[in-house]
């Protein structure tokens, strides 16, 4: 957290602290065991603001007061961070990155050709897949007559037994 963010959070924490002290609860929970002083939060925020913007204090001295203010604001500082956007962020997954399904009928030049038993499918790395063979979803149980294995880290698909011309195959991420 930058010093400027700490100052802003300190100023916001002042009124949050007043409101929560007034309600004697925090986040709709139980009573505050040890209410903090909003006046003291404001006093320290002012000191850090004046010391920081003045430019006459050393970085070490600024850090001392900044850390004190962060400790002092505590839960109110966290809530302030959420409202100012200084509390970090999560980058959403782009749904358009999901790969498309692959459907084909086995022949000599199909996606996996006649007699094929393995294929690296790089566009599906990182995903689980359903391998549908002749309308039946294949499992990875190797004691069954037909099965597959799928390594989602390397993208290597192995098929048992080998594909035969004319089979309808669907690979769905």
């Amino acid at each position: 957290m930058t010093t400027a963010q700490a100052i802003t959070n300190g100023f916001i924490s002042t009124h949050l602290c007043v409101l929560y002290n007034k309600k004697q609860s925090i986040f709709n929970g139980g009573a505050l065991a040890a209410p903090k002083s909003p006046v003291h939060i404001q006093m320290v925020s002012d000191a850090l603001n004046w010391g920081y913007t003045g430019g006459a204090q050393t970085d070490a001295d600024i850090d001392t007061v900044k850390n004190y203010l962060i400790w002092l604001t505590g839960i109110f500082g966290l809530e302030a961070s959420a409202s100012t956007g200084s509390g970090g962020s999560v980058i959403p997954i782009n749904p358009s990155l999901t790969p498309s399904r692959i459907d084909f009928i086995v022949d000599g030049s199909s996606f996996i050709p006649n007699g094929g038993t393995s294929k690296v499918i790089s566009q599906m790395i990182g995903y689980e897949i359903s391998f549908v063979r002749g309308g039946l979803v294949q499992s990875t149980i190797s004691t069954e007559p037909t099965y597959i294995s799928w390594n989602k880290v390397t993208g290597l698909l192995t098929i048992t037994p080998a594909l035969v011309t004319g089979e309808l195959i669907s690979i769905i991420p």
């Binding site: 002012d46 004046w50 003045g54 007061v65 004190y68």
Partner: protein
Amino acid sequence: MSFTPLFTVAQSAATPNSVTITDTSTGSDAAIVSRRIKARDCFGNYLPSGSQYTSWPLATNPIAVDMLTKDTAASITVEWLDSGNNVLYSLENTFCLCEYGKQFYFYLIQQLAQRPATLQDSFFSANLSLFWTYLIGAINAISTGQSLSGSQNLLDLETEMQNNQTMYF
């Protein structure tokens, strides 16, 4: 384009005796040939002491003026003059110049940050609160009340605490 007088004032935190004035006027007037600064405290005393004004050459902007020895509520006027030293334009504003107090207050909070339990000392914490109240009050007296004397009264109270810090902190 018509001339509109404007200026800003900033006090140095590192050297609070020094006040930097920046001419931010817009437009122009060919008749202006010189410029000067008149600064006074709430009693009408000139700042810096002993000189009624500080010449401010047009080629110099901003200008730093050594005018303070303590926190001061000041009225600062900038005058733009013609060749006959007649005042063509004049602008006056009031300022609470309290960097001495602000930096001393930061020092107090820094001491507290190193030993948070000091806040349990009611003598210390009461005087700390008083000091902060004097500073905020002095700033507000100018920014919202335009009261030089009111601001200076509060500044004098916190200055007295600075000068006798062993008694208060």
